[in-house]
Symmetry: C3
Amino acid sequence: MDDGGAYLATMRRTAPLVQCITNFVAMNVMANVLLAAGASPAMVHDPEEAAEFAAIAQALTINIGTPDPRWVEGMLAAAEGAARAGVPWVLDPVAVGATAFRRDIGARLLALRPGVIRGNASEILALAGAAARGKGADSADPVAAAEDAARRLAQTSGAVVAVTGPVDYVTDGARAFRIANGHPLMPKVTALGCSLTGVVGAFVAGQPRLEATVAALACFGLAGEIAARAARGPASFQTAFIDALHAMTPDDLTLGARVEAA
Amino acid sequence: MDDGGAYLATMRRTAPLVQCITNFVAMNVMANVLLAAGASPAMVHDPEEAAEFAAIAQALTINIGTPDPRWVEGMLAAAEGAARAGVPWVLDPVAVGATAFRRDIGARLLALRPGVIRGNASEILALAGAAARGKGADSADPVAAAEDAARRLAQTSGAVVAVTGPVDYVTDGARAFRIANGHPLMPKVTALGCSLTGVVGAFVAGQPRLEATVAALACFGLAGEIAARAARGPASFQTAFIDALHAMTPDDLTLGARVEAA
Amino acid sequence: MDDGGAYLATMRRTAPLVQCITNFVAMNVMANVLLAAGASPAMVHDPEEAAEFAAIAQALTINIGTPDPRWVEGMLAAAEGAARAGVPWVLDPVAVGATAFRRDIGARLLALRPGVIRGNASEILALAGAAARGKGADSADPVAAAEDAARRLAQTSGAVVAVTGPVDYVTDGARAFRIANGHPLMPKVTALGCSLTGVVGAFVAGQPRLEATVAALACFGLAGEIAARAARGPASFQTAFIDALHAMTPDDLTLGARVEAA
């Protein structure tokens, strides 16, 4: 794959406006992560304005973490607005297997052809229609168990599919990569996965989806590795993580990315 | 009372899935506090899925901090779903005396028999039908002024009632304990009380309600004492608090808990 | 202008109850900023209780960052309730030029005569009916470009208008001040502008609007300058900022404020 730092440099230069429809837990940290990375986040979700805004954004991300029917209406309108305007959008199917309501939302959003899908192994398995064992928003399945499902889901949906965990797996249905960056404290901080989805959105704005997604995951994981050196627990880790993302240079990313073809 | 550390050890081992219906202010910090303590939080509130999810959770917590009619519907459905499934649930009646809307919500939730009620003195007084002087979400009454009301509320409702403040008071209507752990910076950080309610939920999952509630309060207050040593103000206190909760061992809790029978 | 520290001292002594109707991104940090400054925040937004609560608050702030029709109903009811009770209220017209929905909300709230309006240059230009170039919630116009619009808006609306940016501009339509406190990391932390609106609300509770707004802006910017000395990036900056606001004395503010008549 190409040089990861180049994707970060392009993202920083364009500072894309990323519309985020996300859950209440992630709102603040996701916005701070996007600002630190170099993008311009905007939380706009209501049906009154979600589609109109999607047409002026450079990317859209949709996260179903705390859904209700009106928010779902906004999600569908935004995804349709993005499609009409040629704006790429990223789906984050939080706990999609947990309830009937979420399974239905996942299916309806999937039909609107996201450019990228990012989830943990249990979520990707559930979205692909396979048996999954998620525990709320946490995965109870290893990444390896979801690789086949991810490849099939990419082929049937046309999306780049990213399964994140200790080692991430990203595929467009033909090619695939594994990204080994990251740190065990990351799942101890809530909404970091949601925030990663936002960073993926920022990277894919105007860049090739597969490569930009891989670069976003390496960038995010590398910030986690740097943060761990200064952390005394999950909260000081979160602080150091956002600081590290802000300080990271394209060269840091090129040197620190641990990506290989799968 | 039994060894506080044993309740922490059991909670960590089972890592209970705690469904949280909470307010918008508390969403993120409550999830991070639960993760740091060792539980698995899930924010699921809408009537479309709240009751279904309550049946797969190990505990449910309901906080009325930023209510609207649809959220109230979800709260009632979740409390009923928890009752049907034998899942314990904890009520946090934020500012229950402040408006007619909140008084009505408090009464309706109380009728669904929470296993534990946790509030400040003004909230417990208001929920028990006594005169209270809260200022928004802050108490304007001392804990001691709410002890009689707490005992009566425990007897009439069947709940364990926890009045939190500089020294906490916990009663099941017959026995009672005082917990002296904590630090004056804690009320300067928003939503720490809400987060404590989540930790109480995690501790009472599968454990005796009175003792587990006391252990949760001691654990939370002790983390505050440890955090204060490193804090330069309320924000660095919050960071150190979550780190301390994550680092606390059962032995730390047994040694540091300051509990006595009341 | 009078001594800035005197306004801080009065605010601290009265610890005003500030009702905040704000967006989901700002909820937590705004409450923590208000607590650190010395006020008592209360997030109460629903039409069921917003007007009732406004009558017992000492100030009200309304931020349109993540609007939907029901929240707008609550905003209008609260603003009317505040007016009836003689409670001052502050408008924060986030991204008001971005969509038709927001332009309509802005116009309806403006008609209810806010005591203070605080926004970035693009927002003040849009609210005043001039051409603006905002990018989501970020300004794309310099403060200087909005000074004429601010003065006209103050004259037509009766509000004190504060345009915030690298150097803030505050006017009541006749007199005007510039405040040079602040730090470039501030716009890299989400919702700090929203939080500033809350602090303005706390300062104007029972104090002259123009002078109290100027003092609030100086206080906020000065905390940013102090925080920057300890920061390693935007997240450690936010922590240090809240700690600095909590530690600031009236004398610190009087000495550090960089205010001049415009």
